[in-house]
Symmetry: C2
Subunit: 148 residues, 2 copies
């Protein structure tokens, strides 16, 4: 995380952008949490810490982190964008529970191979992929079985 923070600061300096307290605090929060955050959750987390940051600043800086390559922005089932810090090397995808919204990460070597193969076949120059598997997590499908 220290390495990533330095990367972020370097990125800002290179572009003549400023290293503000808000940016650092947001960075810390995103890296402190392992989970998948949306703007609202981030806003709440900031408020809890007594560090109120405006919604606009949250959105603006999330985009900045995405540009920097440190954060990934995706829609996972919901209407909102979900942000997660990029794990070095470890490319993962998501299982999303339609009932409770739980998001589980998984890593599968097979997908990278598949992606390459498909792109070759269609003359695509692929940058990345998004794979979501939607369904019911264990807890939800168990409790569904009990009621039904």
């Amino acid at each position: 995380m220290q390495r990533e923070k330095e990367q972020f600061v370097r990125f800002l300096r290179n572009r003549g952008q400023r290293v503000t307290a808000e940016r650092l605090v947001l960075f810390d929060e995103i890296y402190a949490q392992h989970s998948h955050l949306d703007a609202e959750a981030l806003l709440d987390a900031m408020k809890l810490k007594g560090r109120k940051i405006s919604r606009a600043t949250v959105y603006r800086n999330l985009d900045l982190l995405v540009e920097c390559g440190l954060v990934r922005k995706q829609r996972l089932g919901r209407d909102r964008f979900v942000y997660e810090h990029v794990h070095p090397g470890q490319r993962h995808d998501h299982l999303v529970c339609r009932q409770c919204g739980r998001i589980v990460e998984f890593v599968s070597a097979g997908i990278a191979a598949l992606q390459g193969e498909i792109c070759r076949a269609h003359g695509f120059d692929s940058q990345h992929h998004t794979l979501q598997i939607l369904g019911l997590c264990k807890d939800c499908s168990d409790s569904k079985g009990e009621n039904g």
Copy 2:
């Protein structure tokens, strides 16, 4: 398509819902086009045919077709939902060009296997998946090479 239309009509009757001119026209349009439509495109297509249908009706009936299982609703790269009629049997995924927005379908047997495997490993009861590969299509990456 005739078979699907009958399925739709049966679906409506079973639920005590009505077979309206708007519903049939929308159905026809979605099945006439092979492409991936958003609500706006559908609205425009209707207008072009001199058959004006309100935005609300378009959205309401797209949802109905999704419930009926004849239409798939997804976000593909863009902010809008994209709708496509379901091809019988042929499960496919999408390549999305980030430059021009072109959407190319592909079928890969490997993904279904992967999906099953991953769900088993995580105790998930999977309903379906969405795989998007984002990148540059051949035309866009060629013209990029020329300019750069």
